[in-house]
Amino acid sequence: MNVLVCVKRVPETGARISLTPDAQAVDDAYLGHTISPHEECAVEEALRIAAAHGGSATVLALGPPAAAEQLRGALAMGIDSAILLETDGSDWDPESSAAVIAEAARGRKFDLLLFGNESADSGGYQVGIRVAYALGLPAVTGAKGIELADGVAYVRRAAGAGWEIFETPLPAVITVREGINLPRYPSLPGRLKAKKAELATSTAQAPAGGLEKVRLSVPQDETTPVVVLGEGAAAAPRVVEVLREIGVA
């Protein structure tokens, strides 16, 4: 079972996000970088599947040269090899990203391609599905559990307060949600090994896509001043009044 897991380098945003002066990107001058929680879980799932069923786990990132840091993070967790599709760091639209990732995956023998359900930053909910179509593979999204049987995968997805279990033939693309597992911390030997590992690097050019960013902005939530109903237990009667006013009690 050879597994490919795709990750994206994104800034580690804190309590407030500020933008570059040209409003084209998050100002990450003073921020660390990471991958989304969904993708951390996808990396962990790739490791578990490769360990349980035999085979290798490969991590792929499309991004600037600095995305090597995120690839090495995955290698430190135990991923076997890494592919970096190097860009100039500009934002790619989902069609372009998917085309280039599919091209890189084509011809390599992967039984399973894992993605995060959506990227942390642009959140387009579609790169994994587009890669599946480009490679002629089935796609399942929102996985909170993956079970592999003979040539098929059973994928568990939340549906209201219950669950839906999807069946898909393999090979397949599956996009993963946080909560499917608890990602491990990289070990010290893992980190040392990852530091020295070779990354298979190639340069990628963006094909044309139909969704073009103009500018980013920080939304202005309506801020009506908060009404403080009181302090401690003494506020309870006032809280109940408000609950009755808004019709929930």
Partner: protein
């Protein structure tokens, strides 16, 4: 003419309200058999586009809406603007869409013969419209059914799902332990609501992961959200800001959630929440 995919639930009503701003709307649902198959729904959308030549197809950014629109976009080789909050028709169409789960907005242009859009959850208010919903039965081939639901596990009868609850009582680090959620459950029960948590508490294992409200969990839009011991980092805020009213219960009057809430009680949730439950049980109180 704008085609709008309708599924059961509030989110599709929001998508319809959004679609009406773009032009005359034709609402449809897909009947592709008992077992949900994303490929079958996508086949339906593609066939409807061929039949009706709409200017745009709109769906809620629900699990299914987001999924089948991406399938349709991939089949048609067309761009898809996901999590849109507003759009201005034209060539290209100008859209504003959410990024970072809604903590940033992106203004973008969408160039395509048919514009495909999903509408961000709880970003547009549902309005009654009363369109007839056409049930479309697509022609299917084997490939459309490669991925399908083979089994469902229903929730315990009487369980109120977080996505549907009118009242959600959620806890953060301030709850202190899994057991600490007992009082939150009592308050939720008293109000006919459901209990949720922040990413911290699901990561600590105090609540099951399915209860997480936030960017990587659920986006909810209840009538009332009661945030207990939650500081309100952006990644949590984007999950709950769709609530009509937010009440924060927090020891720290400077916590971001307190500043952004409609109402706040400053104090220890372990004292405040039981007091509210007691007051609710007192007839005539308030």
């Amino acid at each position: 003419m704008i085609l709008c995919l309708v599924e059961p639930g509030e989110l599709s009503q929001e998508a319809l309200a959004f679609a009406r701003r773009l032009g005359p709307v034709r609402a449809f649902s897909i009947d592709a058999g008992e077992a949900y198959a994303p490929g079958a729904w996508a086949a339906g959308i593609v066939q409807l586009i061929e039949r009706d030549s709409p200017a745009a197809v709109v769906a809620a950014a629900s699990d299914r809406g987001a999924e089948v629109m991406a399938h349709a976009a991939a089949r048609l080789g067309l761009p898809l603007a996901a999590n849109v909050v507003s759009a201005e028709d034209g060539e290209p169409m100008r859209v504003v869409r959410q990024r970072w789960g809604g903590s940033l907005l992106e203004e973008a242009t969408l160039s395509a013969p048919v514009k495909l859009l999903t509408v961000a959850q709880h970003a547009v208010a549902a309005e009654p419209g009363g369109e007839e919903v056409e049930t479309f039965v697509p022609r299917l081939n084997e490939d459309d059914l490669r991925v399908r639901v083979v089994r469902r596990e229903e929730a315990e009868p009487g369980t109120i799902s977080l996505g549907d609850a009118r009242v959600v009582v959620a806890g953060g680090r301030g709850v202190g332990s899994a057991e600490g959620f007992g009082v939150l459950q009592e308050l939720a029960d008293a109000l006919g609501g459901a209990v949720g948590g922040s990413r911290v508490v699901t990561n600590l294992g105090w609540r099951p992961h399915a209860d997480q409200i936030g960017q990587t969990g659920l986006r909810i839009g209840p009538d009332l959200y009661i945030a207990c011991g939650i500081s309100g980092a952006i990644q949590h805020w984007v999950g709950c800001k769709g609530a009509k009213t937010i009440l924060a219960i927090n020891k720290d009057k400077d916590a971001p959630i307190v500043q952004r809430a409609d109402y706040a009680v400053i104090g220890d949730l372990h004292e405040v929440v039981p007091a509210i439950v007691a007051a609710l049980r007192t007839p005539g109180a308030g």
